[in-house]
């Protein structure tokens, strides 16, 4: 049994922002990086299934797209317990369809029983890469999954798909399949120090990108969003703020 988990190292923007000279992206000096939150749940879910059902030789394989620096996020997954990692070497920012085209041949070669992606990335919020990848791999798919019951011998899984308002759609899906994993499906484990040290020693396979075709979009201009009318700022220290909050609440609840 093999599960491939597609993960992304996301950019986290702090309090301040400046843009690159061509105004098409944020100046990377203003970004921090982390493993995408959704992908830590996807990795945990794969590890959990491997531990639950697994036998000798079963594997959880992590795949990511990016330059060498994204290996930090991949090593997080290795430290959690993933067996192998493959990086598609592509350092420019890419739209979700292009990312799907970049990882598709790598995932195809692995012939996994399940493919997991996070529902979305915290920096892009497109919620599209997984569904696009399923199409390129010709796999059945379910998006926004919060529970998985998989019977490998029957060739299908019963999953819960989380709709708006918390409504769950119980869906039966043929496997192999691609599922996009929602936060809260499990509690991702913390890697201990020893596992982190060991993950640093592991080899990450690097493959060259395949032909990816025309991008699905190009960023023409990136800018700070126009502020709405904006909040009226409550000045002063915490005590002043608390008093003003109480006044406003009392007045508005009248």
């Amino acid at each position: 049994m093999k599960i491939v988990v597609c993960v992304k190292q996301v950019a986290v923007l702090g309090d301040e922002v400046e843009f690159t000279a061509d105004a098409r992206d944020v100046d990377p000096d203003f970004l921090d990086f982390a493993l995408n939150e959704w992908d830590s749940y996807a990795t945990e879910e794969a590890l959990h299934i491997r531990e639950d059902l697994g036998a000798e030789g079963d594997e959880v394989v992590v795949v990511s797209v990016g330059g060498a620096h994204v290996e930090d996020a991949m090593r997080r997954c290795l430290a959690m317990g993933a067996d192998r990692a493959i990086r598609v070497d592509h350092s420019r920012p890419a739209d979700p369809i292009t990312v799907a085209r970049l990882v598709a041949p790598v995932v195809q070669r692995e012939s996994p029983d399940l493919v997991f992606c996070g529902v979305q990335s915290s920096d892009g919020v497109q919620a599209a890469t997984g569904t696009a990848l399923a199409e390129l791999l010709d796999l059945p798919r379910v998006a926004v999954v919060t529970r998985i019951e998989w019977d490998p011998s029957a060739g299908r899984a019963t999953v819960r798909r989380e709709l708006e308002g918390g409504l769950l759609d119980v869906t039966e899906v043929d496997t192999p399949a691609l599922l996009t994993i929602q936060t809260g499906i499990n509690q991702p484990r913390y890697a201990n120090l020893r596992a982190i040290k060991q993950a640093e020693q592991k080899q990450i396979a690097v493959v060259s990108p395949a032909e990816q075709g025309e991008p699905a979009y190009r960023v023409r201009r990136m800018f700070a969003p126009p502020k709405g009318e904006g909040a009226q700022i409550l000045a002063g220290g915490p005590a002043d703020i608390a008093r003003r909050i109480r006044e406003i609440v009392e007045e508005r609840l009248k």
């Binding site: 923007l13 309090d15 301040e16 922002v17 843009f19 979700p96 799907a100 529902v119 920096d123 892009g124 919020v125 497109q126 599209a128 569904t131 696009a132 399923a134 199409e135 059945p140 379910v142 998006a143 926004v144 819960r160 708006e164 308002g165 918390g166 409504l167 769950l168 119980v170 039966e172 899906v173 399949a177 929602q182 936060t183 509690q187 075709g213 025309e214 991008p215 699905a216 979009y217 190009r218 960023v219 023409r220 990136m222 800018f223 700070a224 969003p225 126009p226 709405g228 909040a231 009226q232 700022i233 915490p238 703020i241 608390a242 003003r244 909050i245 109480r246 406003i248 609440v249 508005r252």
Partner: protein, 307 residues
């Protein structure tokens, strides 16, 4: 062309918003209704030029079925742009259609314009902290998933002609079995006049009782953002946001909530929003009426002291 969004026999308000979004792109607006009996949904809104009914052998959404139907519609009608809602259903097939047909694509789009013949879409990046204008490959249709509540709903009173469009459908590889309602909680946050809402900023589970007590003291009901539900600290019934409850209290007091798009979708129409956050750039301040840049624990401590 837009695809009507419906769930359990009810048309979603977002369908009207998609009509308004489509009107930003000039050309005629076609509404496709994919359902067991599409005629039960009244999509004859102002601004709609044509309704295409696509009858199915089933009521509920399945992504293979919608994908096949939309691909057939695109082949037949050759639209310049296809607009779907940025919803869980559309996430399940929209990007697949875009990948297969090599369309221009973006999701969570909240602004649209036509410049000459060129579609320009605006969406956010980096957790909503910056916006970007996107352009798309020339000579190809675009498929865009549009953010709910970003466009005004189209009004009733259109008179577009309806035609039927038959599609040969494949057996679905992912099949709807049944719906499960989220468990009802001990309180209904959608009926409260005053919500005190906390998020990840409270740090750990041990802090929950403190904020429950503070809510009691203030006469508020405690609600939370998604991370606290994911962590298992609070039940789903207390969650505000797209995947939780949509609330519209008289006062919404957000302590340490940064304002992810999915959270804002669930509370931004509250009568009065007061936000406290240490990050002056937090997105919650864009929808708040009153804001304070401060530590939530400091403000909570002062609120506790007030009699």
């Amino acid at each position: 062309m837009i695809v009507a969004e419906h769930l359990r026999g009810e048309l979603r308000e977002l369908t009207r918003e998609l009509v308004t979004a489509a009107q930003q792109l000039s050309g005629p607006v076609t509404v496709a209704v994919i359902a067991r009996d599409p005629t039960v949904f009244d999509v004859s809104f102002q601004g709609v030029d044509e309704i295409v009914n696509v009858p199915l052998g089933q009521e509920e959404f399945e992504n293979d079925v919608y994908q096949t139907a939309l691909e057939a519609l695109i082949a037949d009608r050759q639209p310049h742009a296809v607009l779907l809602g940025f919803t869980v259903n559309s996430m399940g097939y929209g990007p697949a259609v875009a990948a297969k047909l090599a369309l221009g694509f973006a999701s969570d789009v909240h602004g649209l314009a036509l410049e000459g013949e060129t579609v320009v879409a605006t969406r956010s990046f980096y957790g909503g902290k910056v916006d970007a204008e996107l352009e798309f490959p020339a000579e190809r249709p675009v498929l865009l998933l549009v953010r709910p509540t970003a466009f005004a709903p189209a009004a009733d009173g259109g008179n577009a002609p309806a035609t039927e469009f038959a599609v040969e459908l494949p057996p679905a590889r992912a099949r709807h079995l049944e719906f499960e309602e989220a468990a009802m909680g001990d309180v209904d946050i959608t009926t409260a006049d005053f919500l005190l809402s906390v998020g990840r900023g409270i740090g750990d589970k041990e802090a929950i009782p403190r904020f429950e007590q503070l809510a009691d003291k203030l006469g508020a009901v405690l609600s939370v953002s998604r991370p606290l539900v994911d962590a298992g600290w609070m039940p789903n019934a207390r969650q505000v946001g797209q995947s939780g409850k949509t609330v519209k209290p008289k006062v919404y007091l957000a302590l340490g909530i940064s304002g992810a798009v999915q959270h804002l979708a669930g509370m931004k129409t509250s009568d009065t929003i007061i936000a406290v956050n240490t990050d002056p750039e937090a997105a919650i301040f864009n929808v708040a009426h009153f804001g304070a840049v401060a530590d939530l624990f400091d403000v909570a401590a002062e609120l506790e002291k007030l009699s």
